[in-house]
């Protein structure tokens, strides 16, 4: 989905608040939320793509205002409700107040069966696709051309796995893009390498 979470290249943000610290959590609830997400994945209640998509489905203002661990918690709570572990009303009762959850999901999609693997060094183009469900293609590479630098072992295709449509295994290709291709005349000179699922790619013309 073209959601608020898709931040790469978005302008208007200020400096990074770069603090080097050994402290991981600042409040006990942050540790607890993180532990909870790990336990629910380990228990098989949801997979990582469903988890990520539940975060993406948060109401856009809620997403931007929430801290990282509030997003973690909101995904866990939303999936617990959607999978029948509990109800929104029960959570609000237990919490003693409102409990904002993610917005509903839409159908996912299957991967393409008609795409062959790409070779290292091959020029590829990211398909000009607009997918309303879960997808791991950041908007800034849509339609852009890059070069394959390496291939991964097969992973579950996120657009299916994020909607509990099964583990369709396909490799990703680390595709290197020039920033001049991504944001012509409006970026620092560099390359950005993105791990792109095979189904998102086509041969460059």
């Amino acid at each position: 989905m073209d959601g608020i979470h898709d931040l790469g290249g978005k302008q208007g943000f200020g400096p990074v608040n770069f603090v080097v610290s050994k402290e991981i959590y600042h409040q006990p609830w942050q540790l607890k939320a993180n532990a909870l997400s790990a336990a629910l994945v380990a228990a098989g209640l949801f997979n990582m793509d469903e988890y990520r998509h539940a975060i993406e489905r948060m109401e856009p203002r809620h997403y931007l205002n929430a801290s990282y661990y509030e997003r973690v918690l909101t995904a866990c709570a939303s999936l617990c409700v959607e999978k029948g572990v509990t109800s929104a009303a029960e959570l609000e009762k237990l919490a003693g107040g409102g409990f904002p959850l993610a917005r509903p999901s839409v159908p996912g999609r299957h991967g393409r069966k008609d795409v062959a693997d790409f070779a290292v060094g091959e020029r590829v183009r990211v398909r000009n696709e607009f997918v309303p469900g879960h997808i791991r293609m950041p908007g800034y590479i849509r339609g852009k051309t890059g070069v394959v630098v390496q291939m991964s072992p097969p992973f579950p295709f996120p657009d299916a796995a994020g909607h509990a449509m099964g583990e369709e295994m396909e490799p990703t290709f680390d595709v290197r893009f020039d920033t001049a291709e991504l944001w012509p005349e409006s970026s620092d000179k560099a390359t950005v390498t993105v791990a792109v699922f095979r189904s998102y790619l086509e041969k460059a013309a």
């Binding site: 400096p15 609830w29 237990l94 800034y140 620092d188 560099a190 993105v194």
Partner: protein, 210 residues
């Protein structure tokens, strides 16, 4: 956001509510918090990655294995990765080559190896800006790279995980692996720090921790 948004429950109570609901269904076992805390505090620390880096600097055969298959090589030193991290790609910095990791869509990292991601890595500013303005962002973060230094940014959009193999500082010739590992910070394995002069400031940690 929803009809209750004017009266949102305290975040700690919301966490407890979900935990209670999950425990009630047997999805979360008693003791899970202690186990997770142990992992985060004692197992998944940057010391794991630092040992890998120091060994790779000291042992060319290990380094070759690490560059070829990160997970298998890391396992030689006892490092493990979660099942959904299916690939570990090690990115070697050079004297004129700098690698930098981010995750624009969420905040993925190889956390069992380099440690849990720092706050700033998860913040919207880093996620939004670093792919488009890497040199500017690094300069703002205190590391002004010369124009001659090539920058490669890696966006962790799939379950391949990346770690930076920092450039070994020239003055460390002859150091033991233990001495070398003590140099290697989490930031250097993400790519927001380098370890050789003039980038490494003696008072780096203190200066940035203000």
């Amino acid at each position: 956001m929803n009809s209750s948004s004017d009266n949102i429950a305290d975040i700690a109570r919301r966490v407890d509510a979900v935990e209670a609901a999950a425990m009630g269904q047997g999805l979360v076992r008693p003791g899970h918090l202690q186990q997770f805390t142990h992992k985060v505090e004692d197992e998944w620390t940057p010391a794991v990655g630092a040992a890998i880096v120091a060994h790779a600097w000291s042992n060319p055969a290990f380094k070759a294995r690490l560059m070829k298959n990160g997970i298998a090589a890391a396992a030689e030193l006892g490092a493990t990765m979660p099942p959904h991290h299916r690939h570990l790609v090690v990115l070697e910095n050079g004297e004129n080559l700098h690698n930098l990791i981010c995750c624009t869509l969420c905040s993925c990292t190889a956390y069992t190896v380099i440690g849990m991601p720092p706050d700033w890595y998860k913040d919207l500013e880093y996620r939004a800006r670093v792919v488009r303005e890497s040199r500017t962002v690094l300069r703002e973060m205190g590391m002004a790279l010369p124009e001659s230094m090539e920058i490669r940014v890696w966006d962790t959009t799939a379950d391949t995980r990346y770690m930076v193999l920092p450039y070994r500082p020239p003055h460390t010739a002859g150091w033991s692996e233990k001495q070398l590992a003590a140099l290697v910070s989490k930031e250097s394995m993400i790519g927001t720090a380098r370890l050789e002069p003039p980038y490494l400031q003696p008072a780096h940690e203190q200066a940035k921790g203000a």
